[in-house]
């Protein structure tokens, strides 16, 4: 008897499960595409800043707090420098710190999370203790101390923010890895004789990949916010212009009492936009990854009655 008749490879049941890749999740929600577009626009501007900015960072083109004009649509700051150009150049620093510290945080967090979640037991306990210690370190005092001892530089900022943000990623990844570890196909791979490396690489990592991506995006948002805050407090590299630095310069020069809103609002708006787009993307991914509560049968009073057709 031909086995084709026995069990033809047809889809059983009415609806096929759809494979969820990061791209398919993003495509389903238009809001995230907006976020993706905005973020890409900023990245592009940051990369091309030296080429497309109207003037250079230290080029004085007018007097203090000149209001917006056709030649300088966002006006000038306290040093008479074109704010639009400052925004573009500032994007480089802000995004660099955002992406750089995120890279450190995600790498550290993923490694710790995977190791803790996969091996469990004592390894897990030790890893979580270390994570807890890092969690309670207050970032701003640490920054002040580091700035005082090692001086202020962009790389220090990247390092600090990265070292403080990895803990959140570690916890989230650990939880997911713990649950994936219990899946039967992972246990089966181990029973087959697969080594830890093979199991993690081929079975665990692909399952947590969308979660890592979601985490990356959300961490970028937090990192940029942190950078802005630290720059505002004067703890960042004084020679580098970033959005936070712009706000600091403006408030130091009493932009508010001078009525020069254009010196403060645009950098703030840029930070907000970038954080917003990252959050949109990241939350959409996280939402899609949560096992959605299926509509339970006990959701009474919902079903409809169809009357038999007349005639």
């Amino acid at each position: 008897m031909s086995t084709l008749l026995e069990e033809p490879g047809v889809v059983v049941g009415a609806v096929e499960e759809r494979r969820r890749t990061v791209w398919s999740i993003l495509r389903e929600r238009p809001a995230t595409l907006v976020g993706l577009t905005v973020l890409s626009a900023f990245v592009l501007i940051a990369i091309l800043a030296p080429v497309i900015a109207p003037s250079r960072v230290h080029e004085r083109v007018g007097s203090t707090f000149d209001p917006p004009s056709p030649g300088h649509p966002l006006g000038l700051d306290d040093g008479g420098i074109d704010i639009l150009s400052l925004l573009m150049h500032g994007a480089r620093a802000s995004l660099l710190v955002g992406f750089g510290s995120t890279a450190i945080a995600i790498f550290l967090g993923s490694v710790v999370g995977i190791v803790a979640g996969y091996f469990g037991g004592r390894t897990d306990m030790v890893a979580m203790r270390v994570t807890d210690y890092f969690l309670v370190i207050p970032d701003v005092p640490l920054m002040i101390v580091i700035a005082a001892i090692w001086g202020q530089s962009l790389w220090h900022i990247i390092l600090i923010i990265g070292l403080l943000l990895w803990t959140w990623t570690a916890r989230v990844i650990r939880a997911q890895v713990k649950s994936v570890r219990e899946r039967v196909y992972v246990k089966r791979a181990r029973a087959l004789g697969a080594g830890h490396f093979h199991t993690i690489l081929r079975h665990v990592l692909p399952q947590i990949e969308p979660l890592i991506v979601a985490n990356i995006v959300l961490t970028i948002a937090v990192a940029i916010f942190n950078e802005t805050a630290l720059a505002y407090l004067g703890l960042s590299d004084p020679s580098v212009i970033s959005w936070g630095k712009m706000i600091k310069n403006a408030t130091d020069a009493s932009a508010v009492s001078a009525g020069a809103w254009w010196a403060i609002v645009p950098p703030g708006v840029c930070v907000a936009l970038v954080i917003l787009s990252c959050t949109l993307i990241g939350q959409a991914l996280e939402d899609a990854l949560n096992p959605r509560l299926r509509v339970s049968f006990l959701a009474a009073r919902g079903f409809r009655i169809r009357r038999p057709e007349q005639g």
Partner: protein
């Protein structure tokens, strides 16, 4: 000729975690006596069914044999070779020779792997099958062996595109591709539809013809009776009866087996035999009764049963010399 698998006095115990309060209060450590001295052997080409209710230790026994959990005592010999004390590194080459099929066909395949990748994976793990074509040939052969023909129809499918029975066959193919000598099937059909089970069981049955030894774990006595050559009935970590399957089912010797057989529902409504429904449920493996483990629920227990722990020995009223039971009165 050595047996394919020889298990002797296997003991597996788990520690119950005490928690902080327990540790501080120095409460005595409690142990789950999952497997307490189990011995049996399995020959090539034979199917042995380990049957019993939950908590009897059948799954733990199977996992201990595969070294997925560590035994506290006892010996496990695969083709004469002692494997119970080997380090996990030394075990890797041995994993080729023993494979396991899990109960849940919906969970045992990685949803991101196509069928060919799932079946190919064991070859990659053990570094077998030289070239890509060589491996593909082995994969195709394995798929044909499990009845998924024509193989080309299935190679590129994802698990969610297959039915439960097909997924289980893929899992079996992935187990067979290494050409093992021992196959452990843990409730291989309990999550499949009734109309599909027979196909998978017949497949496992036919695999024996090639010399493969199959250890089937099941709670379904009818399945065990029909497909297995021998049945071993477990209760609270011990084998209480063992023998040729037809013998054990039609002429049970141990009171527990007799009760079990009497309560198995039969499809013929005219065959409603008198059910001997035992009271209560299987006790917790943490608190094992003294003497014969079964005596608190045994319908024919006497005083001596709470003091003496019977060993497995030939049953007087059995029709076969290999039919043994652990009861003082058989």
């Amino acid at each position: 000729m050595t047996s394919l698998l020889e298990v002797e006095d296997l003991v597996v115990r788990y520690l119950v975690p005490r928690g902080i309060v327990g540790t501080l209060a120095r409460r005595p450590k409690r142990r789950v006596h999952a497997v307490e001295g189990v011995s049996f052997s399995l020959e090539r080409g034979e199917m042995l069914a380990l049957v019993g209710e939950s908590g009897c230790g059948k799954t733990t026994t199977a996992h201990a044999i595969l070294r997925l959990v560590d035994a506290e005592a006892g010996s496990i010999r695969l083709d004469g070779e002692q494997i119970s004390r080997l380090s996990h590194g030394a075990l890797r080459p041995l994993r080729r020779r023993m494979q396991i099929i899990y109960q849940d066909p919906y969970e045992s395949l990685d949803p991101r792997f196509r069928v060919w990748r799932t079946v190919e994976e064991p070859l990659l793990i053990h570094g077998l099958g030289g070239s890509k074509e060589d491996r593909r040939l082995r994969v195709v052969t394995a798929l044909e062996r499990v009845g998924l023909t024509p193989p080309d129809l299935f190679l590129d499918r994802y698990p969610h595109e297959l039915s439960g029975g097909q997924r289980q066959r893929v899992a079996i193919a992935a187990g067979l591709v290494l050409e093992p000598e021992l196959l452990v099937a843990d409730e291989p059909v309990s999550m499949l539809d009734v109309s599909v089970r027979a196909g998978v069981l017949v497949l496992l049955d036919r695999l024996r013809d090639g010399g493969l030894g199959v250890l089937m774990i099941t709670h379904d006595l009818s399945t065990a009776a029909h497909f297995a050559d021998r049945i071993a009935v477990m209760y609270l970590g011990r084998i209480v009866e063992e023998g040729p399957s037809r013998e054990v089912v039609t002429n049970p010797q141990h009171p527990y087996t007799k009760a079990l057989m009497s309560v198995v529902p039969k499809p013929d409504p005219r065959e409603r035999s008198r059910a001997q429904i035992l009271r209560g449920e299987t006790p917790n493996p943490i608190d094992v009764p003294p003497g014969c483990r079964f005596h608190p629920r045994c319908p024919v227990a006497q005083d001596i049963c709470s003091m003496e722990d019977p060993a497995l020995r030939a049953a007087k009223q059995a029709r076969s010399p290999e039919h043994v039971a652990a009861c003082l009165f058989t």
